[in-house]
Assembly symmetry: D2
Homo-oligomer: 367 residues x 4
């Protein structure tokens, strides 16, 4: 009889009807997942799926990590003659450009503000190469599932976009309606205000040169959601969206509608008055962010997601190892000075997964 | 063949191993729920359970609603001779002081920033009395489940407390360590700073006199959580805590650790350096808020929850009814001018439910 | 730090979209549950619900236990003006006619073929009165949920009936089409063949006089299920039905279609040939029992459920107690000599729960 | 706005804590899955995993299909330096020896007693090659997950074995204790009685020559299960085992302990009397099959699983196509005349998945 570290991990799955179960470590053979509950009969454009992956891909610009991962997705099942069959969709993305020896120096070290210590404590073992399972590389699997969800949502008239709204002290106005989404992809930081975008790029470049990193905020907007999505009581739409966003690496905060600004507001100032025009109910203002009582009300859903600065610094860092000994680390891998530009598509796909799942949960049926 | 509005509601349950499935409308016969996965063999102090309910209870002070609900909980199963048996625990709280005729005027009206419109749209029907299922009265069931969870957590050395840290523009410092938790219950707004507490009370009183309402922020601290709670990838501890908080009525934002303040920070300033003293690993700072990579690291977990002002104003409000006609509402019920004081115990119990559930998911076993 | 027997119980819930979470011990305050996912807008006939409970009720005839439980159900939420609202439905059935002192002699005894030993071993504690949570009294909660499901299914044209097809050596023919369902309730054993019914009643009466008990088989038929219910791979309709039946107290076997008789058959003899008449696809024979590849094919679904004899004998029984000491038990409670007559409605309601749940999971949506 | 056939499939996952989410069609790129909840720190012997796959593999003997699938499994994550890390385990088995053109003739045909008609009806589309998702090829993914589970169970002292106990009219005695498990793998039909094994082989050979198929029964025994596994009420151990077995292709019945033979028994004959020797509680007989009240009692768990004859006959078969037209099919693929020999390892691995999952759900913790 030996003693094994035995811990149940119940967290590799998201979604109720439309779901993703993911797997994969940063420097393992491959990452991937199983998409379940995808509606049957949806024509899938694989170029679009790959395009989403490319937006998340390392090496795409001067302000993100230089790792050159191809991130080519391979669909293994569930799509027949280009159309979804309703059966589960397995997929893999091979890990091709991993430099595992870059990480030999952290084999026994606990990097500050990383998951090395918590994973080792929880499981008694960890794949130390590039963060293993705790690496943000895992989010590539989310992008595939989200790209499938988005192709179903497109047909439903639902549109989702996100953008970098803050890097360090450089902020956009909180009102997303002031910005033209068609500008987002026009710059490498994915900010719809060209002037602010350049300031953000300059700041990230400066931070990068110092071997430092910087945080920020992403704003996400979901248009065209019908009235009725979201499940009371614990399954409120904002609770599901919040959990999805807070499950992204480096996310530290979530607010929707006016969010934390509600704290200083009076009800008389911020209640959203109803209007009915030509039989269509809407609200004059949308401080609520498109959700009332946990259920979408047909207005735009919008929310903000706060990211901490990347923990890996390209400079000497004092820390400890598994034995509790002090040591100095100097990260050798290729890392992002700011996670925001690559996180924009991740926020979008997580929103797509949640919205499609709730769409499927909310079906009205003729009995 | 008739057509029924048919919608699946999957949201009345929270938790994986320790779970609550709740039921009940504001003005129905009773509210209640089933607690499942409660560890067997825990001695339950029912006075403590009732005390938690009393902290949430209406009518407890001059700054909350004057409704005089007794909120006496009745345990129907799962506790034998005062000890939990491991079987499911059914409980009910009767609705005794409901004035349903207070609500006759809103039978067909959609109150602004309430759930009347979204529930009616989703289900084709709603119990309009006092908000029905969307009423915050539902949170009383959470308090019972959380009180059970807390009694198990007490034995594990886990302590949870929350307090009102902001009402309108009156804010405490974000550093919870500056405040003495023993002061929290010393005032009716549940703020550990007596001076600020009085300012908050004055503000709420003023707002109430104007028939208006005001928002705020609650800070919650969880001490004594062992290293290892939380499930990667989608089940990160912050995702579960965030979802739990965002499922509370009127909550619009959640952040943990430095939260949104991380957006303006550099990695070099905010990374939490490790130290090892006498074999015990800890961090010099705790900007991360006690969670790394989705898993607790043994430091204090702390987070902030933003609440919007209560939507019901005690003044004339213009709105529409189900037919889209304009009308003027004047709320006649008894309502809170500020939800914060009564929400403090709700935040605590939701944290307790999540922490105990994760504790049970993280069991280390000798194989 | 004390040591608690701590076991997670994840088993008090059945169903994915339409679900029941149940609670209650035989001699506790009440049993009950929460129905979640009930479609909104269904008019509920509470007399029908009560009628189903009466069919399961003790004391209804000379061949079942003489316990006189009223089993009046009280709906606490989710039904407004007689119509379901889509919110969760809490309900309780009070335990009114319990003679707890009947059980004082078994407080420390482990009754043979009961759950006393396994519950005590698993949880370290048990409510010994009348079997506690392991009592078949728990099935009354299932009847309530199933009665709600059945009222939705009625509107969908789905009909479910079951009958006693075997008691001891007295068997009906396996072909359910030979029997007229309108005869089932015409006798107290719930067997559609009047002659066999009388033989069964005589046998049960004889067995009862000897203080003994006897097993049997119930056959269940589900008509009007549309093509398409059931989820591959692990959620095959037969797997869900089988699990539901095997979760009923005293059930030891489940087979559908030809079941175990398939073992001796050749494919050429038992394959169900397709025919298409007037555009409608059906099969000439239905050896498969209405399910192909885990999915309903539009034919009648039928299955058989084997019950063991009730474990409680009204005679001296040798056994052991918690300390391992030998003792002689003589059951004093009022018990069923044969569980079949009262189990017929339980089999029906479990089928109703599974079929409605799968109906809701199989919704076709216009995207 | 187009109309899509849209169905949620929630069935590709089994297990609560230890779970498998599977994917893959018979003639797609690959089949595979994600194992979640595998305990960390378990040393994995990949040769043993492959050996299990080889037992299920086509082409292994003269009485099974001649398809020569290599079924080499490739682990993509979750195992580091040969040891499980607690993170999710992705794996794939490439489909290498598929002759898709073998199936061109069934593209529009509905084969009798296959899933062609039900899949097409449910999803509006199907991958017709070799049965697509409904093919028993899917069970290879189960074997991988079960092989991992078994390696954990081995360390816990749990042993699982199954054998062919009936083919057509050739039956073994129901008492598994009469047979020596070490004989099971000594013959190609996997029957521990050499003489009966030869009769079975002869029968299958004869049936095969006639282009026909034959059904049978597999008996499974689980030894070394501790007291306490299984979750009341709906999660009874027999319900979980039954669902797992009934989810295997071609399974039509499940019974445990005395099963259907209980129907003719009296309680006084079949109750399992307790004995206590040297402080160890056991039962004199084990008619119950090792489970009481849904919870394991420490005795051997044993059950029987009925399989129908394979639906594909190697002879002319009359059927219809999607348009309802009559046609004659003559199967050209390579098919099993009897599924039993290859199903023996599948029954074992499904038992392993259920038992390990329940082991993890039943952990006793010091609080």
């Amino acid at each position: 009889m030996i003693i094994m570290k035995t811990v149940s991990e119940m967290g590799n799955r998201i979604g109720n009807i439309f779901s993703l179960t993911s797997f994969g470590e940063s420097h393992g053979v491959a990452i991937g997942g199983v998409i379940d509950g995808m509606p049957a009969g949806v024509k899938i454009d694989m170029d679009e799926v790959q395009k989403e992956l490319n937006r998340r891909r390392p090496g795409q610009s001067s302000i993100v990590t230089a790792r050159d991962e191809k991130d080519k997705v391979k669909i293994l099942s569930g799509v027949f003659d280009g159309v979804t069959t309703g059966t589960s969709i397995g997929f893999v993305i091979e890990n091709t450009n991993q430099h595992s020896n870059d990480y030999s120096n952290i084999k026994e070290a606990f990097r500050p503000s990383h998951a090395d210590y918590t994973y080792t404590s929880k499981y008694g073992i960890r794949d130390y190469r590039g963060g293993g399972r705790s690496s943000a590389r895992e989010t590539a699997a989310r992008v595939v599932a989200g790209a499938f969800a988005r192709q179903a949502l497109n047909q439903l008239g639902v549109e989702i976009y996100a953008y970098t709204s803050q890097v360090g002290n450089i902020c956009l106005d909180k009102d997303y309606r002031k910005y033209d989404k068609s500008n987002i992809e026009s710059n490498i930081v994915r900010c719809p205000d060209s002037e602010k975008a350049q300031e953000m790029i300059d700041l990230i470049t400066e931070v990068k040169q110092e071997g430092d990193t910087i945080g920020g905020v992403i704003t996400c907007v979901v248009k065209g959601v019908p009235v009725g999505l979201g499940e009371p009581v614990f399954g409120k739409l904002q609770a599901q969206l919040g959990a999805a966003m807070l499950s992204i690496n480096a996310v530290k905060g979530f607010e929707y509608g006016m969010g934390f600004d509600f704290a200083t507001a009076r009800g008389s100032e911020v209640n959203d008055a109803f209007v009915c025009e030509a039989g269509k109910v809407s609200t004059k203002t949308n401080n609520s962010g498109g959700i009332q009582g946990g259920i979408s009300n047909g207005e735009d859903i919008y929310f903000r997601v706060a990211f901490k600065p990347v923990a890996t610094l390209l400079r000497d860092v004092e820390t400890i190892n598994e034995k509790g000994e002090n040591l100095t680390l100097h990260a050798k891998g290729r890392h992002d000075p700011c996670v925001l530009p690559r996180a924009v598509p991740i926020v979008e796909v997580m929103a797509a997964i949640v919205i499609l799942d709730n769409y499927l949960m909310n079906k009205t049926v003729k009995l």
